[in-house]
Symmetry: C2
Subunit: 201 residues, 2 copies
C-alpha cells in the first residue's frame, strides 16, 4: 500500500509472485490447464508474459506452483469434540456448504480431477494435503467415540465423507440438481441414521 517499500528480505513471498499466481488461479480454475494461455495469465496478473517466465520456468511449473499453494491453503472440514449427532451433522453441513462459501473450491476439485491423468503427482498432492487429513481426523473422532462401537472407523469415515462428496459432485458439479433433486437435509438425516443407529450383530 505504501509507496516507499519497506526493507523486505527476499525470503518473504514476493509481491509479483503473488500477483501472477492470483491471475493464474482465475484462468486455470476456469479454463483448465490446456485451455489456459500464458498471455491471459500475464494480462490477468497485470504483468508482461516475460515477467511470468522470469518467475516460473514454464507453463507446467506455474501450474504446479499454483496447485501446491491451493492444496496448502484449503481445508476440507474440521471435527469438533461433541457428541456424534452434533459433530457428524456439523461435518456434513460444513462439507456441503463448502462450495457455497468458497466457490473456487469446487473448481479446484474439478481441476485436480481433470488433470489427474496428465499430472498424477499433483492429484497426489491433493490427496496428501486435503483428502487424507480429513479422513484421518474423522477416523480418529469415530474411533474415540466408543459408544458408536464401530468395528472399522476408517472405512466408516470414508463412507461418510465419500457419500457427501458424491452428493456434491452429482448435484452441484455435474448440475444434477434439476434432474435428480434431493434435499440436503434428507440426505444427511439418512447418513447419520446409518452411522449412528447401527450396532454390530
Amino acid at each position: 500500500m505504501t509507496k516507499t517499500k519497506p526493507i523486505e528480505p527476499d525470503t518473504a513471498t514476493d509481491d509479483k509472485n503473488q500477483q501472477i499466481l492470483q491471475g493464474a488461479m482465475q484462468e486455470f480454475l476456469t479454463h483448465g490447464y490446456a485451455g489456459t494461455s500464458m498471455d491471459k495469465v500475464a494480462k490477468r496478473g497485470g504483468v508482461s508474459k516475460a515477467t511470468v517466465y522470469s518467475y516460473f520456468a514454464d507453463k507446467e511449473g506455474l501450474f504446479a506452483a499454483l496447485v501446491q499453494r491451493l492444496a496448502c491453503e484449503q481445508v476440507y472440514f474440521t471435527v469438533v469434540d461433541e457428541e456424534p449427532t452434533v459433530a457428524l451433522r456439523l461435518v456434513a453441513e460444513t462439507l456441503l456448504d463448502k462450495s457455497k462459501k468458497t466457490p473456487e473450491f469446487l473448481n479446484f476439485v474439478r481441476l485436480i480431477i481433470a488433470e489427474s491423468g496428465r499430472f498424477p503427482q499433483l492429484a497426489q498432492t491433493f490427496v496428501k494435503n486435503i483428502a487424507k487429513p480429513g479422513i484421518e481426523r474423522l477416523t480418529h473422532y469415530l474411533a474415540s467415540r466408543e459408544e458408536l462401537k464401530l468395528p472399522d472407523p476408517e472405512a466408516t469415515a470414508r463412507i461418510f465423507i465419500g457419500s457427501l462428496i458424491y452428493f456434491q459432485l452429482l448435484q452441484e458439479m455435474m448440475h444434477g440438481k434439476e434432474i435428480i433433486p434431493m434435499e440436503r437435509d434428507r440426505f444427511v438425516d439418512d447418513l447419520l441414521r446409518l452411522v449412528l443407529s447401527c450396532k454390530p450383530n
Copy 2:
C-alpha cells in the same frame, strides 16, 4: 470385412462416422477437450481433417456427439434380484471392477467432470443416462426388500453408490492408492454392514 460393400441404406450409422468418433474418443478421453486437436482426431480416424468437418459442424459438435454416444453405451451396474448380502456385494464389486474391465470408463468420467463447467448440458446427459438410472435401480431394489426396513431407500442408494464412487475416485483416478491404501473388500464389508445390520430405533 467383405470387399464388396452390401447395399446399405444411409439411414444406418455411417462407416466413416464411426471411424471419426472412434478416433475422437481416444483423443478426447486422453487429452481432454482443449488438449485435443482436430488434426490428431482426423489422423487417428484415418481420414482428412476436411472429412471430419463434413460430418461434424465443428469441434464442439464432434465432442457433443461423442459424449452422447458414450453416455448411451455405458451401463454403471445392474442389480440382481437376490438376497441383500448377495445382490449388494455384487453391485459393489461390479462398480469397483468397472475401471479394470473397461478402463475407458474412468477416463470418460474424468472427462465429463473436467468439462462439466464449460459443457454443463453434457454433464447433465451423463447424469440422466448413467447416474440416474443406476440410483433408481438400486432404490427400487432396496425398497422392494422390506426386511431391510429402510426409511429412505433413495437416500441410502445414493450413500451406497456415492461411497463406492468416491473410493474409486480417490484410490484410482487421483492415484491415492499408495498414499491412503485400503483393501477393497474391507471397504465393501463395512459398507454392507452399515446398510444391512441397521434397524431403525
